[in-house]
């Protein structure tokens, strides 16, 4: 913080609290959030708040021992503990692995049907009640969810929703966030590299 101006006076106190609460509950902050009332994705106020006062928030969370990270592709903010040493705990993030495992199981339903994965990020398609039923019906998939400490596919969707990687559109329909789609894209890009290195 510079000596001549106090950035705390410039930021929105209420929004800053909302941001802290989101991070505290383990959620990322997405640029676009699905608004059920408007039935579409809208720009998030708190995302804009961070963008506008990025230096302030970087400083704030650094003082708390965290690094504020912006994911350019997935368009979201997250924070990461500043590790004192590169201990083994810091090497991988269990939550993100759990999320990618859930996304894998959901995506598999689509690829098995020959549907493009981009549907998962479109509110008109997303993950439907039928998809949820299909996930629950498949014995192995259902057992894998349990082994991931998730009782049902709905629990799994709620798990990623709570962390800002999905939104609920209606009673039984969800849509993935851009961040989640980026995670899936990473898998696909990796596959493309693999197949081009084979050929």
């Amino acid at each position: 913080m510079s000596m001549d101006r106090n950035t705390f006076l410039e930021v929105d106190e209420k929004l800053s609290q909302t941001i802290y609460r989101a991070f505290y509950t383990g959620s990322v902050i997405n640029r676009k959030e699905y608004m059920t009332s408007q039935a579409q994705f809208v720009e998030s106020k708190i995302y804009l708040e961070i963008r506008q006062h990025e230096n302030h928030y970087i400083q704030l969370y650094r003082h708390l021992g965290y690094e504020l990270i912006h994911d350019e592709e997935g368009e979201f903010f997250s924070i990461k503990l500043i590790a004192e040493s590169e201990s083994e705990d810091a090497v991988f993030d269990e939550t993100s692995l759990k999320i990618i495992a859930i996304l894998t199981l959901i995506s598999r339903i689509m690829t098995q049907r020959g549907q493009p994965l981009e549907f998962l990020g479109q509110p008109v398609q997303g993950i439907t009640g039928n998809d949820v039923a299909a996930l629950a019906d498949e014995e192995t998939t259902s057992a894998i969810f349990k082994a991931l400490k998730l009782k049902t596919p709905i629990d799994a969707l709620e798990f990623i929703k709570k962390r800002g990687f999905a939104f609920r559109i209606s009673q039984s329909r969800y849509v993935l966030s851009k961040g989640a789609m980026t995670m899936i894209d990473t898998l696909i890009e990796r596959e493309k590299e693999l197949s081009s290195s084979v050929n």
Binding site: D89, I99, R113
Partner: protein, 472 residues
């Protein structure tokens, strides 16, 4: 002329009419010849098609079919050019003009126009152009020489035009099919292998037929060997203009326009198929990417399926190969607790607890208490050492003997997993035993196994109950 079928042979016209009536046989024959890249087909194969047809017909019709498709009849009516024995197989060589007639009747039988065949079609045109340029052909309209080469030119240009039109019709059908499957989501496409095969087929078609034709019909195409069709036609048009043959110049212009008209349909087909290819390739990547990720998740899950009740949940480190660069906020976790939660700390604590609990356990219990909380390795070691202790306690130890040698002898025979260091445990158990006292001798011994060598001073056991005296 039909009617009576007592005649054994039909004229060419009559035979052709009947071949067209029973055209399935010829279609199958052409398909077979195309697949095998052979102009000749084995007689047996041909007759299997005829017999298959006859099965569906009335007796009278079947009789007619027998007569028409009789080899002698086909030979005399010049439908078949030759019947020849090749490597012990009798083969029928069909007249290619007859084949062409049947190809006309079915789009799927059109000969593919590949780069090679397009090139072959252009070669005579280039040759004519060269000769005109060199002044080797007559340039006087109305003369026989002039009419001859000009007729040849017109024949070739219109023949090629016809072939291209036919092929575009065929490719348009294919294009529409592929476009449909790029948009739709038929169940049949869910299989990765099926999808891959269809993709390869489309890719081959695109590369072999669609793209060369698209290039061929492009206005500005030039080949290594000569100009493309438009530039060639343009050359002849201006040539005819210079010699004032306006009707031929006009004819060339009209061909140019007709060829030009074919460009947009082939471009449309090319677009349809390339959209299909792009979408399918993306879908193939998606499919195999997700399959690969799923196999990682499945393997991690299968690790939890063993008999070990501690492994109910997936070990997240098994999923490491899925790692993506995305970070989830970890603000909720409070840092100072981390050390206490670390697996190594907990392992030590639980091993210690298990060992202590075990020493209070009933003597002959096989079960390791707290086995769920310690590692499998540690539980095994604990069990082994318990078994050893029980054996020491129950063994009938003779007094005044080298008990280590005795224990070694007994244990190495009875226990397959016995190792020399176990003797230390035996000795320490006996030292702590309330029944015996150890007596040191001035004698040294050595024991060797594959791994260890043990040198020790011989000790004897002295019973405490019988002899209360303490020996040095």
């Amino acid at each position: 002329m039909a009617g009576s079928i007592t005649n054994k042979q039909f004229s060419t016209l009559e035979t052709l009419q009947r071949l067209l009536r029973y055209r399935e046989v010829m279609f199958k024959t052409i398909e077979f010849a195309d697949i095998n890249h052979a102009g000749a087909i084995p007689e047996t194969v041909f007759y299997s098609f005829v017999i298959a047809l006859k099965d569906q017909l009335s007796d009278e019709q079947a009789n007619e079919v027998s007569l028409v498709f009789d080899v002698d009849n086909l030979l005399q009516s010049r439908i078949i050019n030759d019947r020849r024995n090749v490597d012990g197989v009798t083969k029928l060589l069909f007249n290619t003009s007859v084949f062409e007639v049947f190809r006309l009747c079915r789009v799927s039988l059109y000969r593919p126009l590949t780069k090679v065949s397009l090139n072959a079609a252009m070669t005579p045109l280039w040759s004519l152009m060269r000769q005109v340029k060199r002044g080797k052909l007559s340039t006087t309209p109305g003369t026989d020489d002039y009419l001859e080469w000009v007729d040849d030119l017109v024949y070739r240009v219109s023949d090629l035009l016809g072939k291209i039109r036919a092929n575009i019709a065929k490719l348009q059908n294919v294009g529409v099919e592929f476009e449909k499957s790029a948009i739709a989501d038929p169940q049949g496409y869910s299989q990765l292998e099926v999808k891959r095969e269809s993709y390869n087929m489309a890719a081959k078609l695109y590369q072999r037929e669609i793209d060369p034709l698209k290039v061929f019909l492009d206005k500005h195409t030039r080949y290594e060997e000569g100009d493309g069709i438009f530039l060639t036609l343009g050359y002849f048009r201006s040539f005819f203009q210079t010699i004032n043959d306006t009707s031929r110049a006009y004819l060339m212009l009209s061909y140019e326009v007709q060829y030009l008209d074919l460009f947009s349909p082939i471009k449309q087909v090319a677009n349809q198929v390339s959209i299909y290819l792009q979408k399918t390739q993306q879908s193939l990547h998606e499919h195999s990417a997700i399959d690969r990720a799923y196999s990682v998740v499945l393997a991690a899950f299968e690790n939890t399926l063993g008999g070990d009740l501690r492994n109910k949940f997936i070990d997240m480190s098994d999923l490491k190969s899925l790692e993506v660069s995305v970070q989830c906020p970890a603000l909720g976790r409070i840092a100072p607790f981390r050390t206490e939660k670390s697996p190594s700390f907990l392992d030590v604590a639980f091993n210690e607890l298990a060992t202590r609990v075990q020493s209070y356990a009933p003597e002959n219990s096989e079960k390791v208490l707290l086995s769920e909380s310690i590692s499998k390795e540690a539980a095994k070691k604990l069990q082994y050492s318990q078994r050893l202790a029980r054996w020491v306690d129950n063994f009938d130890w003779p007094l005044n003997k080298d008990f280590l040698a005795l224990a070694h002898k007994e244990l190495s025979q009875e226990w397959p997993d016995f190792k020399l260091p176990d003797l230390f445990e035996v000795q320490s158990r006996l030292i702590n035993s309330p029944n015996y006292q150890l007596e040191l001798r001035n004698e040294y011994q050595k024991m060797v196994d594959d791994v260890y060598e043990l040198q020790y001073r011989v000790r004897h056991l002295v019973s405490l109950s019988n002899q209360q005296t303490e020996v040095k």
